[in-house]
């Protein structure tokens, strides 16, 4: 039997529960006044914002603004949070909304670039890929190149935005199917369907580059 087949369970170790618990612990400690915990939590919030901006929204020039938004909202939210276990879902939803609002503020923004909104509730039929490279300043692109392989960047560009968001949340950020469904606003079954399609498309794109 193929070794590739027998290792199925190793791909997705159950990191989601551990990550969620880790975030919850940081939230509790931060709310209790632990400065070190707060710094770690705020750093994570900014990391999430940066990755999401670049990989899902495809607008590197917005990434640092979205980081600031995530930083401020997390700082303000921590002391009021009632369900620390739900923090991670809140954070990704907040970052997604920050990206969306950032796009809306751009004067003369072509409607096809509001990709993240297309990802929430529609199918994949109208969601053309965002040209990540085309909107990146050279410095941003250098950062992107150093961080994500050129091969994977090209493959991600082949995905409709709605599928790209699910790949990033599920595969790269390690959210559970339920968490992805909550952030994106679709059913778990729909998440699984889109994820499968995205994996197949990504595979084909990777084989073609």
């Amino acid at each position: 039997m193929s070794d590739a087949v027998t290792k199925r369970a190793e791909l997705h170790p159950s990191i989601s529960d551990a990550e969620r618990a880790d975030y919850a612990q940081l939230v509790r400690a931060s709310a209790a006044g632990d400065r070190e915990a707060m710094e770690r939590l705020l750093m994570r919030a900014q990391e999430v914002a940066y990755r999401f901006s670049l990989l899902v929204c495809g607008h590197p020039q917005d990434a640092e603004d979205v980081m600031q938004e995530a930083l401020l909202k997390t700082y303000r939210y921590v002391s009021r949070i009632k369900e620390p276990d739900a923090f991670r879902t809140w954070l990704y939803t907040t970052v997604q909304n920050a990206c969306r609002m950032k796009r809306r503020r751009h004067v003369g923004e072509p409607s096809h670039l509001t990709s993240i909104e297309q990802g929430a509730n529609d199918g994949d039929r109208d969601a053309g890929p965002v040209d990540i490279e085309g909107h990146a300043r050279p410095a941003d692109q250098l950062v992107m190149d150093a961080w994500v392989s050129d091969r994977l960047q090209r493959a991600l560009k082949a995905l409709p935005p709605s599928q790209r968001m699910i790949v990033v949340l599920r595969e790269m950020e390690g959210l559970s199917t339920r968490e992805v469904a909550s952030v994106v606003g679709i059913s778990e079954a729909n998440v699984k369907t889109r994820l499968h399609r995205a994996r197949v498309t990504l595979r084909q794109a990777l084989e073609g580059v």
């Binding site: 980081m67 994977l152 499968h196």
Partner: protein, 85 residues
Amino acid sequence: MSADVNTECGDMLTRISSYLDGDLDAAGCQAIERHCAACARCAGFVAGLRETIGLCREAGSAPLPDAVRQRARASIQRLLTGEVL
């Protein structure tokens, strides 16, 4: 025979992500593994998706560039010391 094999391959393709995510029960997993043992094309497809998922996970766990992290840390310090961002 060929039609049966194609049907089996098609069924396999629809369930492969569930299989890779560990969402299938033991019987479902064994059915896929039996099929892949006899079908090189599907076994290759599984291996390809595994590599794809692995690449994504690798990128997700990569640290952010140092320059970005430094700016993020500076923003945190300004926030925690009460400076205006």
